[in-house]
């Protein structure tokens, strides 16, 4: 057929034209050169904006251009090198504009469509200018065109820096926050156990000692001359000693660390039951309109109450049957944790950690205000005075044990300090942090102890229990603390899980739900048992403190330091003696825990 023949011919013409060249005929002719009579080949569909000319013979671009990608030149040049490394790259999906299904209103839809089109324009223009220098202003989207929803408010001073490190003051606060734990509530009681002057001396001594050994641990890697990233103590041992001995030492350190964490968990459960119980009481009383005539200055003396336990009748109301601090509340607590404990990632809990700081602050102010109203009620001389306090007591080991846990950060000090931007300030920052912690613990203990207008044996190992549940401020403080502990408990669980699994299965262990569940069941069961049958946190704290402290605060830092110096033949006799004394102190601390009445 004629027409078809023509069509075929036409087809060929078209296609041969197009295959002619891929070269863009762009002639930049200056005014001097008017001989623009170049015999140009028939035009093709304009090819890309590749600046380089490739001759007709080779249809393929050099690999580099293709590999470099369309956006490489313009993006990196305009926005600087990427702050993301392989490790901290956020898992984001590519931006995709909404497809008009969001809002029902017509105006809304119109803007969405507009944004959609703007986005396609933006992509096209970016593609067009990809091969050119990033400083070229043409076709760069101006600010006034960018849709307003894409703008974020700029908060000065809050820019997260690309290096992922934090400033010194942040590190100090992190250390403070980590150390500041439940020991705070045990402080007044523990302080009392050592006598007034004894207590003061021991508190300062222990702070200094713990600080010194923490510093030793922090600088251990440098002293040993081990290169590479800063390792936590357990990994360092493993790496240095290697083989089965290394594994054994790592196992030892891991067990002590885990012991501390489990101890903390158990104590937390007891405290949570306590706080939840008290909060429940407050709410119950408020609901039932029970007015408490006691002024807010009412105080309790729990040892008196528990001493007469057999005489107090069981509260007949149904509520109090189902709401007992020592029995049912710890079990009710299981409910929120069933799910949370098995979560894979613990990041979310770290955000709530700061709630504890607020609570501590409130307690601090509370104690000071109470101390001001009560005045000093203490007597050092007359043993028959109600407020008599001996200067030294022979139950001082309770204080040392408690402080061992209160100043305990030795199993994670390296990790926390690693985030410090100026590593050379690590020691200085650690000193500042410890000073702050000491300044938090000591005044609360001393002030409360000195000013409480009750016989001093009334102070219990959770000083909040000296106040009735309905004290408003404390009710709020208990609420805060309850919530904070609620969020720290799974965090501890996560650390335990992490350390155990890393030890047994290596650094990149697989997350297997059943293993996690078994571990959590065990941990929660333990916590509940203790909360029901033996909720004496003073006892638990001082024992855990003594054992873990023995290892981490006394033995490990000193022994490894001496060993490091010894291998480098730098060990001097006074250093050896000093550190041996510290180790002996730790052992004494541990053994003396057996000898409290």
């Amino acid at each position: 057929m004629e027409n078809e023949g023509n069509l075929l011919v036409d087809d060929d013409e078209i296609s041969s034209d197009d295959q002619m060249t891929g070269v863009t005929e762009v002639n930049r002719v200056s005014s001097n050169d008017q001989t623009s009579g170049r015999d140009t080949p028939p035009e093709s569909v304009p090819s890309s904006s590749v600046v380089q000319n490739y001759d007709d013979g080779s249809p393929f671009l050099s690999a580099s251009a293709a590999v470099a990608g369309v956006y490489s030149s313009s993006w990196t040049a305009t926005s600087g090198p990427s702050p993301y490394t392989v490790d901290n790259k956020p898992k984001r999906r590519p931006f995709h504009p909404a497809l008009g299904s969001r809002s029902g209103s017509l105006a809304g839809e119109a803007t969405i469509q507009q944004d959609n089109h703007l986005y396609s324009r933006y992509r096209y223009y970016t593609r067009l200018r990809a091969p050119v220098d990033a400083s070229e202003h043409a076709l760069v989207i101006p600010d006034h065109v960018v849709p307003p929803v894409l703008f974020l408010p700029y908060i000065p001073g809050h820019t997260t820096d690309a290096d992922g490190k934090q400033a010194s003051h942040i590190t100090i606060i992190a250390v403070w926050n980590t150390m500041m734990g439940t020991s705070l509530m045990t402080m007044p009681w523990a302080f009392g156990q050592a006598g007034f002057l004894g207590g003061l001396i021991i508190m300062l001594l222990m702070a200094g000692l713990a600080l010194y050994t923490a510093m030793r641990l922090l600088t251990l890697q440098k002293v040993m001359g081990v290169q590479g990233p800063n390792l936590e103590f357990s990994r360092l041992c493993y790496q240095l000693l290697g083989g089965p001995l290394g594994k054994l030492t790592e196992g030892l350190t891991v067990s002590f660390s885990v012991l501390t964490l489990v101890g903390a968990q158990v104590v937390y459960w007891v405290l949570m039951s306590n706080f939840l119980f008290n909060t429940g009481e407050v709410i119950y009383d408020a609901v039932n309109g029970e007015i408490h005539n006691d002024s807010s200055n009412a105080l309790l003396c729990p040892p008196n109450v528990t001493g007469n336990a057999d005489l107090t009748p069981v509260d007949p109301t149904i509520f109090h049957r189902w709401w007992q601090q020592d029995f049912t509340v710890p079990i009710y607590l299981i409910v929120p944790f069933i799910f949370i404990m098995n979560l894979r990632d613990a990041k979310i809990f770290t955000y709530f950690n700061s709630l504890g700081a607020i609570s501590v602050f409130v307690m601090y102010l509370f104690v000071i205000s109470k101390a001001v109203t009560w005045g000093i009620n203490i007597n050092f001389t007359n043993p028959l005075d109600t407020y008599y306090v001996p200067l030294f007591k022979d139950t001082f080991m309770c204080l040392t044990g408690t402080l061992s846990l209160a100043y305990f950060i030795h199993n994670c000090v390296v990790t926390i300090m690693q985030g410090n931007r100026h590593q050379e300030n690590n020691v200085r920052d650690l000193v500042i942090a410890y000073t702050l912690v000491a300044l938090t613990y000591t005044p609360i203990a001393v002030l409360f102890y000195a000013s409480l207008p009750l016989p001093k044996f009334c102070i219990v190992d959770n000083f909040l229990d000296n106040f009735p549940p309905h004290d408003i401020i404390l009710a709020i403080v208990r609420g805060f603390l309850f919530f904070q502990i609620l969020t720290v408990y799974p965090l501890l669980g996560f650390f335990i899980r992490n350390q155990l699994f890393t030890y047994f299965m290596g650094l990149n262990y697989e997350y297997q739900l059943w293993r996690v569940i078994i571990l959590n069941v065990f941990l929660i069961a333990l916590s509940v048992m203790v909360a029901i049958f033996y909720p004496n946190i003073g006892f638990i704290i001082r024992w855990v403190g003594a054992i873990a402290g023995l290892a981490y605060i006394f033995i490990f830092p000193c022994a490894t330091y001496m060993y490091a110096l010894y291998t480098q033949s730098k060990l001097q006799w006074h250093q050896a003696i000093l550190h041996s004394i510290i180790i002996i102190l730790g052992v004494v601390n541990f053994i003396s825990q057996f000898f409290t009445e």
């Binding site: 762009v26 002719v29 005014s31 569909v45 904006s49």
Partner: protein, 308 residues
């Protein structure tokens, strides 16, 4: 000799960017050469079959400009089919802009009196709000139409950051096609025969919509620009490998879209909403329709030639 499309305007008015976007062809502006020479860029882009785009800067050092204009103007302004003059809306030298514009018009009157004149008031996104934009545009339009007499100029307001640029150029292209009504009618018939929802004709080099037919109205009136941008991006990718874009088929459960070379100056895009119709059938239909539309095109070009 090929007929020209002159793209003129003061330097810095945005001509090169405009040209890059429309023709998918980015050339970095060599700013170091500004003011010293007159930048001329011929890109031998086949535009609507027989047109070649020339880009000229009007402006720069005055004396030099005047000289240049005087000596070269016949060369520049001969055989012009279309003059597109670009005004920067933010320009502070309105008088001077108008002066150059008028010089160009004089030259056009002398050398190519049949040329069509289009004025683009460009960079409209730099104006604050819609109301202001309307007022200013109307002012300029009045001025320009007054100044252009006896020639008739059509004014558009444009910005590369909204749909106005594409629309303006599409309108220009639309006006340059002599038998556009006939084309539309044929497209309609074509669409009805092959059961297509929509048929579009794109100009080959720029993917500007020449004509289209749609069975039922669509709520997104600016979708052609988006399609055009997407295809141009794809063309850029193709040409990185020295391949030429020829055709594309996009399919999902709700529709099938075919983009294919159509006539020597156009691409067509056919949207079928009946996904059960096999691709081969539609492709055969498109192929058979080609002859018909080629004939139409040839006639129209002959028409153009005759009218000279």
């Amino acid at each position: 000799m090929k007929k020209k499309v002159l793209l003129m305007g003061k330097s810095g008015s945005g001509k090169t960017s405009m040209r890059s976007i429309i023709f998918a062809n980015y050339i970095a502006r060599d700013t170091s050469r500004l003011g010293a020479t007159i930048d001329v860029e011929h890109s031998h882009v086949r535009f609507l079959g027989n047109l070649v785009l020339n880009l000229w800067d009007c402006g720069g050092q005055e004396a030099f400009m005047e000289n240049y204009f005087a000596s070269q103007r016949d060369n520049i302004f001969r055989n012009v089919e279309v003059l597109i003059y670009v005004f920067d809306v933010e320009s502070r030298e309105l008088e001077k802009d108008m002066h150059y514009y008028q010089s160009c018009l004089e030259a056009i009157l002398q050398n190519s009196p049949e040329a069509r004149v289009f004025c683009l008031i460009h960079k409209m996104d730099l104006l604050q709000d819609d109301h202001q934009r309307d007022i200013i545009f109307r002012e300029r339009e009045e001025d320009l139409q007054r100044l252009s007499k006896p020639l008739q100029c059509t004014c558009f307001r444009t910005s590369i950051w909204d749909e106005t640029l594409y629309k303006a150029w599409s309108s220009i292209v639309y006006k340059l096609i002599p038998n556009v009504q006939e084309l539309e009618q044929n497209l309609k018939d074509f669409a009805n025969i092959i059961d297509a929802d929509e048929v579009l004709l794109f100009e080959r080099a720029t993917f500007l919509v020449i004509s289209h037919y749609r069975m039922s109205p669509h709520r997104d009136l600016n979708r052609f620009e988006k399609v055009s941008n997407i295809i141009k991006q794809f063309k850029l990718s193709c040409s990185k490998l020295a391949a030429q874009f020829q055709s594309m088929e996009v399919r999902n459960s709700k529709f099938a879209a075919f983009i294919d070379i159509f006539t020597s100056n156009t691409y067509c895009m056919v949207i079928m909403s009946d996904a059960s119709i096999p691709s081969a059938a539609t492709l055969i239909n498109i192929r058979n329709a080609r002859k018909h539309f080629e004939k139409l095109e040839r006639n129209s070009q002959g028409h153009l030639a005759l009218s000279r």
